[in-house]
């Protein structure tokens, strides 16, 4: 088969397909629904900006703290940073262990209260009934 024959065969693929009479109405019905639908929610950049800025600042400070460790040569920096993190964690643990029983009870109660805003809405929600039509008689 020559290229010219292929050209002719492909060019002659002229099945004149036309839209059905109801096509335009169907498209317009869908377009009207689209127009009535609320626009998609935009990302709240204004509200998120302080959080993003704080995150970036924290990251920059953390990196600068690691990089500017005094007296540390390049190879020793990561282990020293890890050691510092371990030290801070240990201090926090010591601080908690130093609390007396009364403070410990208060902290446990506060932790338990944080579950309230999560569980309360779940208790208020009613289970959705099955609304499917009953088939058959």
């Amino acid at each position: 088969m020559t290229p010219e024959e292929i050209d002719r065969a492909l060019a002659s693929d002229t099945v004149r397909v036309r839209a059905s009479p109801r096509f335009a109405a169907a498209v317009m019905a869908r377009v009207r629904r689209e127009a009535k639908a609320p626009p998609p929610l935009a990302f709240p950049w204004t509200r998120a900006a302080p959080g993003i800025a704080a995150g970036v600042l924290t990251l920059v400070l953390a990196v600068s703290a690691v990089v500017s460790t005094p007296g540390a040569d390049a190879a020793a920096r990561p282990p020293q940073a890890v050691a510092r993190a371990v030290e801070i964690t240990a201090r926090v643990g010591d601080a908690f262990s130093a609390l007396d029983a009364r403070w410990a009870t208060i902290w446990v109660a506060v932790a338990a209260l944080t579950l309230v805003p999560i569980l309360a809405p779940l208790l208020l929600v009613k289970p959705v009934r099955d609304l499917r039509p009953v088939r058959g008689s």
Binding site: M1, T2, P3, I6, D7, A9, L10, A11, S12, D13, V15, R16, V17, R18, A19, S20, F23, A24, A26, V27, M28, R30, V31, R32, E34, A35
Partner: protein, 193 residues
Amino acid sequence: MTVDDGAAAVDRVLRGDVAAFAVIVERWQDPLVALAYRFCHDRSRAEDMAQEAFVRAFRALGQWRREAAFSTWLFALATNVYRAELRRRRAPLVSLDDVADPADSLDVAGEHEDSDRRAAVRRALHALPARYRDALVLFYFHEMDVERAAASLGVPVGTVKSHLARGRELLRRKLVATLGERDTRLEEARSDA
């Protein structure tokens, strides 16, 4: 509809006159359905795909940069929708090697020879890799206008030309094998009769 008419309807829609979009639909429904049909060869599915293209066009109407004609923008958008749809819900395509020999279903008199030949070409076309198939589909849909095909595909003219050349070569090789065998068998059948 001229380019200005298209722009006028678009302006009205962008000002909130949703009904003005009907002008665009009326004008372009047949070409968009026909293009969809060239991709999927299923009338019902072609209308679904064209409807999706119109809805996407409605949503994206504000993104039409008026440097190009409205039709160029609309065809490029529709082509993207159709190609994505084919990728998402790929019709069961046959391998080029599995393209049926038309002689198997052809009556011996060869009355339907031309239509079978076209059907064989179409089947082989749709078994091509997507980049070659799309270039060929758009090229012949746009009445062999490479620049319009390139605009619809959103690729340089040179890319379309190379895809056309490669696609035609793949088609030719396969059709020589399948139709060549068929023609030989037809000749044999005729001589036996």
